[in-house]
């Protein structure tokens, strides 16, 4: 069954660099797995703990946060805040016995279309290996 499992991964994507990389991938006709569903946010620092938890609670098999490179945040420290927040939520997931690898943060420059696609494939593969979220129930939707 695990071989056929297609994970659903929610990606919170900063409207600046990571979104540019994603758009560039589209322009260059590069492909990344359709498992990744992108939600654009004004800054990755705007993604709160509750947004990550809600994504998992509502059936996402994995969540990733995509922010700008360190020192390149449009709002100065948003990506650092996101980094600390991800570490905090990983601890919460530990309390719930949910694999911490289901949540990751990545930093991108604006023209990293190839890396964006490569990481999207890697994330999908990691979550596919982990299997469906322990929370998965029938008909769960996001």
């Amino acid at each position: 069954m695990k071989g056929k499992f297609e994970p659903l991964i929610l990606a919170f994507c900063c409207n600046y660099c990571p979104s540019c990389s994603a758009d560039l991938a589209k322009s260059a006709k590069l492909q990344y797995p359709p498992n990744i569903r992108i939600i654009k946010v004004p800054c990755i620092g705007a993604v709160g703990i509750i947004h990550i938890l809600k994504a998992l609670e509502n059936g996402a098999d994995g969540v990733c946060l995509m922010g700008c490179l360190e020192g390149k945040c449009e709002y100065s420290t948003g990506n650092f805040r996101a980094m600390k927040r991800v570490q905090y939520v990983k601890k919460l997931l530990g309390k719930l016995s949910i694999e911490k690898e289901r949540l990751e943060l990545y930093n991108f420059a604006a023209a990293e279309a190839y890396r964006f696609c490569k990481l999207a494939r890697e994330v999908t593969e990691t979550v596919r290996t982990l299997g469906p979220t322990p929370l998965k129930i029938n008909n769960s939707k996001i």
Partner: protein, 222 residues
Amino acid sequence: MIVGQQKDFDEIKKMISAYSRILVLGCQTCVAISFAGGMREVEILASMIRMDRKMAGQDVEIKEEAILRQCDFEFLDSVKDLVAGCDVVLSLACGIGVQAMAERYPDKVILPGLNTTFMGVTEEMGIWSERCAGCGDCILDKTGGLCPIARCSKGLLNGPCGGSVNGKCEISPDVDCVWQLIIDRLKALNQLEKLEEIFPIKDWSVSGHGGTRKIVREDLTA
């Protein structure tokens, strides 16, 4: 403000294990500022409980609410219907809020989701520290606005003790010796002579050693 810290999730889980209809009730005043019991924390904790129960295959119905002040009875009536519809209230207020809820709703089980830690200040985002011990007989006028009761590890009134080294307390190099701070501040204010003043023995009867404290203002009572 009163600073709180959320209890460990395992402890909370154990407390609420017998209940399936839970009201997670936050307080939007002090504990919201210390990121322990405001609406944000209510949502996070409720989400965690739901996920935990879902994985255990147990049903749970969680209501989420936060009121302006759980320590004031007049605000507690606003959640009357929510309280009636649940088996248990998991309060994310300080100990005062939990007790006020228990008093207002005597038939309902009220559980604490926080440990009430101290009265203090936000030093910076994410860092809080103690400032007041509520001793009932303030001496800040004599100590340059720095409290030795709350901030001296020994609560000394005649510090610094021999454990003060380079302005730090002997319990940890991260803890300032408040008596050093007091002397530095009074010196800067040119009021160092204040420490030479002989004052009577501090009245500890008003610090709680005389029993539960209560204030009655006749001009305000009905």
